[in-house]
Amino acid sequence: MTQPDSEHIRDDRYRAIRVKSTLEDAKLPEMEILADVRRHRFCEEAEFAIKLALEEAMTNAVKHGNCNDASKQITVYFFVDDERAEIIVCDEGCGFEPGGVPDPTENDRLTLPNGRGIMLMRAYMDEVEYRCNGREVCLVKLNKR
């Protein structure tokens, strides 16, 4: 466990997991977060959405944020209660402008192999907010039991 770096997530509700920036290690927080999601009785569709959005955020952190540099780390802050699941994924990269990412559903981009991660996060979560010049993404899923 680590202490949150950012002012806005110095909150006792959050737990933190820091992992090495590889696709294998980036998978590690998922089991703990999804266990909390199940414990708070989110529906199966919400669990699928959270798993998908978390994978997309972690993949982006590894590949784009940290540029596949395994010496860098990713920190995940999260809390889950009966009302909501909130997950913040932080990389150590230079950031980016989320508004500059093209729409992967445009006809001329459909045959590209990548570029769907942000779109999927936005489609499946209730809130997706980029912070710190794109180095952090906050994902929120409400529990609509």
């Binding site: 980036a26 998908l52 994978e55 459909l110 045959t111 990548n114 991660g117 999927l120 489609a123």
Partner: protein, 116 residues
């Protein structure tokens, strides 16, 4: 979804077709198994390549990207790639990403093979 994700890929080769059946979870740490099977299948250049998604319970965008790459390769050599039996969550993903407009989806492998 399982507590610990796994992915295996079954491949069935016919005279004019190859059917690939991924079983489990094509997550970010496992999707390469699907990617490798698709590359091998494309090298065989079957006229019809069917991806049976009935036993796939999850796919991330990297896995979707593999399907797109295979679709482009198959089309390039004049073949046809189709999807069959997606579970409801994966069918929804294919719709949300509009990949359902790129790759035909059938309700059964038999229908997909017949359409090819």
């Amino acid at each position: 979804m399982q507590a610990t994700d796994t992915l295996s890929v079954d491949v069935a080769q016919g005279d004019q077709s190859v059917v690939i059946t991924p079983v489990g979870t094509a997550s970010m740490d496992l999707y390469e198994g699907l990617a490798a099977a698709l590359v091998k299948a494309c090298e065989l250049k079957p006229p019809v390549l069917v991806i049976d998604l009935e036993k796939l319970d999850f796919i991330c965008s990297l896995g979707l990207g593999c399907l797109v790459v295979a679709h482009v390769r198959v089309r390039r050599y004049g073949g046809k790639m189709t999807l069959a039996n997606p579970t409801a969550p994966i069918r929804d993903m294919l719709a949300a990403t509009k990949l359902a407009t790129l790759m035909p989806i059938y309700d059964s492998t038999e229908d997909a093979l017949a359409a090819g």
